[in-house]
């Protein structure tokens, strides 16, 4: 049995949850077994996970699970895995999933790989792939133990509807008391978080100052994209820290990454070079970013971006 932990926030599933369930479903097919999904805390509409391939959905609805604590979650997920006889456990490679994945591997004494981005192969031995060296290479891992724990990199596969609503069963599992207190959660509302975003508009020092960001926000709004930035821009406080992508920031792999006034230093590329399509707007034809780009515009961003915004708006309205 494959068990997928489907992450939710304030009762709603994250996009990464659907991806993980679909990946779990495909993995179960490859292994010739079934896929169960697990939700923790109060959630709305858990049955919907059946549509993405969960044969069964379990819920441990304890109110205390509304607060995330990797120690408590691990105890509960491992107890459920034991109870239903799951030997493959899959979580999302999100800040929550990454805090759980290693714990689960240790708890279950399982072989593990984090941030996988391909379906496994199982021709006598179980193998999975992930990006390593900040996207500069791909490594294949073999897991030899019976128990396996994986975390799935966001935007690695597109979840498809493969079934109908599943039955949801509440499980009574002992929830240990948490030793941490979550005092505040400060997140921006209403935008898709960067690791989940399919469209990202990003800008760097070429913007000259925070007062010029209106054209970037405008592009993001037209495209319904999430905004990002280079590190120096976050360091000087032109943009919030959580927007900073790259080796020291977050690694993302959207379908479209538009880089405006960013030179394309290797540490920046480390976080974005897995994007499917990269557009670079820079006045310097020698900017290293052009080597990593699919489409390039050599020009002054203060001319090019307003023109692009107009073209995008016309496209959206047509």
């Amino acid at each position: 049995m494959v068990l997928v932990f489907a992450e939710s926030q304030k009762g709603e599933f994250k996009k990464a949850a659907m991806e993980a369930v679909y990946y779990g479903h495909k993995t179960a097919e490859i292994l010739g077994t079934e896929c169960a999904a697990l939700t923790l805390g109060p959630v709305n509409n858990a049955a919907v996970l059946g549509q993405y391939g969960a044969n069964k959905v379990y819920n441990v609805g304890d109110d205390s699970l509304a607060q995330f604590d990797s120690q408590v979650y691990t105890a509960v997920i491992a107890a459920v895995a034991d109870q239903i006889g799951a030997n493959v456990v899959i979580v999302s490679h999100s800040s929550t999933g990454k805090s759980l994945q290693g714990r689960l591997a240790a708890k279950l004494d399982a072989g593990s790989v984090s941030g996988v981005n391909h379906l496994p192969t199982n021709d006598g031995s179980f193998k999975v792939k992930k990006n390593v060296f900040s996207g500069k290479a791909i490594a294949e891992y073999e897991i030899s133990s019976d128990k396996k724990v994986l975390s799935l990199m966001g935007n690695s596969l597109k979840p498809e509807a493969v079934g109908s609503d599943a039955t949801v069963e509440s499980l009574a599992v002992e929830v240990p008391a948490s030793r941490i207190k979550v005092k505040e959660v400060n997140t921006v509302e209403g935008t898709v978080p960067l690791p989940e975003a399919e469209l990202v508009v990003s800008a760097g020092r070429g913007m000259k100052g925070p007062e010029n960001w209106g054209i970037i926000d405008e592009m993001a709004e037209i495209l319904n994209a999430t905004t990002a930035c280079s590190r120096p821009v976050a360091d000087v406080g032109w943009r919030p820290h959580h927007e900073h992508v790259g080796q020291t920031g977050i690694a993302i792999r959207p379908n479209l990454y538009i880089a405006v006034g960013i030179s394309g230093a290797i540490q920046h590329l480390a976080g974005v070079n897995s994007s499917k399509t990269i557009v670079v707007i820079n006045k310097d034809p020698e900017a290293p970013f052009f080597k990593a780009a699919d489409y390039g515009v050599v020009g002054d961003l203060f001319d090019v971006v307003p023109r692009l915004n107009e073209a995008l708006r016309n496209f959206k309205n047509s």
Binding site: Q71, S114, S134, A137, S144, K183
Partner: protein, 246 residues
């Protein structure tokens, strides 16, 4: 406070990555090795600051071969009091975590600090594993930590913002950017590091359940298609019809 900082050795970010034996091994020729930046700049420096403020000791630990001693000495030069190297090939994350947890179990540290990930295999696994093996809370991606008595208030990076948590020692923490400011070792530190203890310990038995079997380079990018800056309708058309991303 008695603090343990886990440090790993990684190729420098700017290293060109290549493989030998048809993708079986990393080509180490010309690879420049450094201490993993998250360990050095953030986890280690914050530990030193805590010690400077409230007293205690900072021990650094590495699981690896003797060739890692150079990187370990750098940690001593920056200011750690002592170092431990578990003499073993760091085969997998769980193998490494079991080594470190076995050592930490004997010593009763108030806090174990790590980097948020090693920049080679980008695993982000070892910290969570150690926490589970020690049955302690784990706070990942910490970008700020204040301590009062034995209670810590920590900001951690989450998608689209931060979360603030409070907890008592002992716990395990992984560091991201912001937790501290990088320190450059000075001459005195480098001289003193030579006299600081670097203990070498034997590994504990642990199975190897997850191993790399091969590497490949990502498919080469085709050359960039330049679009006339005057004609942004063309760029929109390409993104829609050719790349199919909008």
């Amino acid at each position: 406070m008695k603090l343990l900082v886990c440090v790993s050795k990684t190729p420098d970010t700017t290293t060109k990555i290549a493989f030998t034996d048809g993708g079986a091994q990393l080509d180490t020729n010309g690879v420049q090795y450094i201490m993993n930046p998250y360990d050095e700049w953030y986890a280690l420096v914050r530990a030193l600051e805590l010690k400077e403020a409230a007293g205690g000791t900072v021990t650094i630990i590495n699981v690896g071969p003797a060739a890692n001693d150079q990187v370990i000495r750098k940690g001593l030069a920056i200011g750690a009091d002592e170092a431990v190297r578990i003499d073993a090939d760091p085969k997998s994350a769980l193998y490494v975590a079991k080594q470190i947890a076995a050592y930490a179990q004997k010593e009763n540290f108030d806090m174990v600090l790590l980097g948020k990930e090693s920049i080679d295999y980008n695993g982000s696994e070892v910290g969570a594993m150690i926490a589970e093996l020690l049955d302690q809370p784990f706070i990942s991606y910490a970008s700020k930590m204040e301590i009062s008595g034995n209670t810590a208030t920590i900001s951690r990076d989450i998608e689209g913002g931060t979360e603030i948590v409070e907890l008592d020692t002992p716990f395990v923490l992984s560091a991201s950017k912001g937790l501290a400011e990088q320190r450059i070792p000075n001459m005195r530190g480098i001289m003193m590091a030579k006299r600081k203890p670097l203990k070498v310990e034997a590994a504990v038995e642990a199975p190897d359940m997850s191993t790399t079997v091969g590497f490949e380079l990502p498919p080469a990018k085709s050359a960039v298609k330049l679009v006339d800056p005057e004609d942004m309708n063309e760029l929109v058309r390409l993104l829609h019809e050719e790349a199919k991303v909008i």
